[in-house]
């Protein structure tokens, strides 16, 4: 999807219209918002929107993961998200049966008991047999797609981007006519991380498809921090690999890619996809909102692109 020049310039000028807690729009549950003073999160703008949470690099089984999980359960009361997407490294280290309990089922018990479904993608620390684990909803596939309301989600296996997967992705994208197209996978195409940085090789494979078929939002993990990337070729990129692991101070200072970065504590993210825009909020382990904003839906790819696509 192309960026409309006016939208892009407006977006850049506004720093992507970040909303503070005070600036948050009137919502359906303002009372609940004030009641939860330890958790800075706003209610959704529109209860008909597609609402979800995003976690990445989460499966450590340590205290930090549990604390983020507890905040997510609390957040549900104010921002009732319908599902959670996982950006890989879902289970670190050994993957014995008890590890799935300690590193997934217990930390997110509060959500699982409310029947909130999780949709996982694979990280480099994940055994691909995780795709058979029912609570990850991968349908036995390394890469898969699912639809929620007006949005189509594409879960990719960025550890092993072979020809079969690329072919599958192009087929799926070419027939997707949903208002929102959202991809999520482990390795970030753009990142200001000092340790890993942008996955340029992967980008050369995926970005042309994303641009051609109008991908709107891309979520990735791998870097153990949060970063909102300045829109690239009309696509919003988020790195959110800090839901349990933390690489403190790892975001390169003055990186031209960074719209907003946070690398001093663990976070989770919630988002809602409305008719015209996406609202997002990023909340730290201690309940502080560290980033939020409203991002307009970009126009569909131009007709010329459609023609070239069909050729």
């Amino acid at each position: 999807m192309r960026v409309h020049p006016l939208l892009l310039s407006g977006l850049l000028a506004l720093g992507v219209s970040t909303l503070s807690a005070q600036q948050a729009p009137a919502t359906a549950q303002p009372a609940a918002q004030t009641a939860k003073s330890s958790l800075e999160i706003s209610a959704p703008r529109d209860m008909d929107s597609v609402r979800f949470a995003i976690i990445g690099d989460s499966g450590t089984g340590d205290r930090r993961q549990y604390e983020v999980g507890a905040q997510m359960t609390k957040a549900m009361e104010i921002f009732p998200f319908e599902f959670v997407i996982m950006l890989g490294d879902n289970i670190y280290g050994s993957e014995r049966p008890q590890d799935f309990i300690k590193k997934f089922e217990k930390p997110y018990e509060g959500l699982l008991t409310q029947k909130i479904p999780f949709y996982a993608s694979l990280g480099n620390h994940d055994d691909p047999t995780q795709r058979f684990y029912k609570p990850f909803n991968m349908n036995g596939e390394r890469f898969y797609t699912f639809k929620k309301g007006d949005a189509r989600f594409f879960a990719l296996d960025s550890n092993y981007m072979d020809q079969a997967q690329l072919k599958w992705l192009e087929e799926q994208l070419s027939r997707a006519n949903d208002r929102w197209k959202v991809a999520f996978f482990h390795h970030p195409l753009y990142s200001s991380g000092a340790r890993h940085g942008s996955e340029v090789d992967l980008r050369t494979r995926l970005e042309p498809l994303f641009v051609k078929y109008g991908m709107d939002i891309v979520f990735a993990g791998h870097e153990h921090f949060y970063e909102r990337i300045v829109p690239q070729k009309g696509i919003y990129y988020f790195t959110q690999g800090g839901s349990a692991k933390l690489r403190e101070g790892n975001i390169r200072v003055n990186s031209a890619l960074t719209g907003k970065g946070f690398d001093v504590d663990n976070v989770f993210m919630v988002a809602e996809l409305g008719k015209e825009s996406m609202q997002f909020q990023v909340v730290s382990r201690t309940g502080k909102r560290v980033d939020s904003g409203s991002l307009p839906l970009m126009p569909e790819p131009k007709q010329a692109d459609d023609k070239s696509r069909s050729q």
Binding site: D127, P128, T129, G140, S158, V200, D201, L202
Partner: protein
Amino acid sequence: MVRTAVALLFSALCISLPAGRLAAAERAQAKPPVNPHAQALVEFKKRVDTYLELRRAVTQKYPEVKETGDPAKIHDREVALGKGIAMARISAKPGDVFGPVSGQLLTIVEKDWNARSPADQKAILAEIPKGFVLKINQPYPPDVALATVPPKLLAQLPMLPEELEYRLVDRRLLLRDRDANLIVDVLVGAEPTRAE
């Protein structure tokens, strides 16, 4: 004696046959040209197919796990499948599958590596696990990350069926059985790790 006779006969033919007919005779005698790389790939595919055949036989004893909420079932099947395959190819040794394409694979990996920027090389090296022993027919260490195979490199390597995957580890290119977590073959000396 025989060689002399053949040489004389050949000389006689050269003298007696017109040039066009001589060329035709040479063509008839020559073997069809063979691309050694293509031949090696065909042989590699045959070996992969042989592995899959063996694997299929073992898999029948351990039916595929459909989605389950019980991770023990997934884990137990992975371990059992790995052991079953290892038993069925107990005499497997390095090069049994990679054999015919080993040289080509090393060249591909090396060229890919040399074409990368220093920053890209650094990023890849940072991802590659190292410092542990890998043996054929042994499980890939469950605590160790699976290094990401750079997509550009992956696009150059011979395609594999879904059951198998390449992985770069230390100084080796591995052939790994995805669902059995089994090291099927190991190719030593692959870049990029030579740069360590």
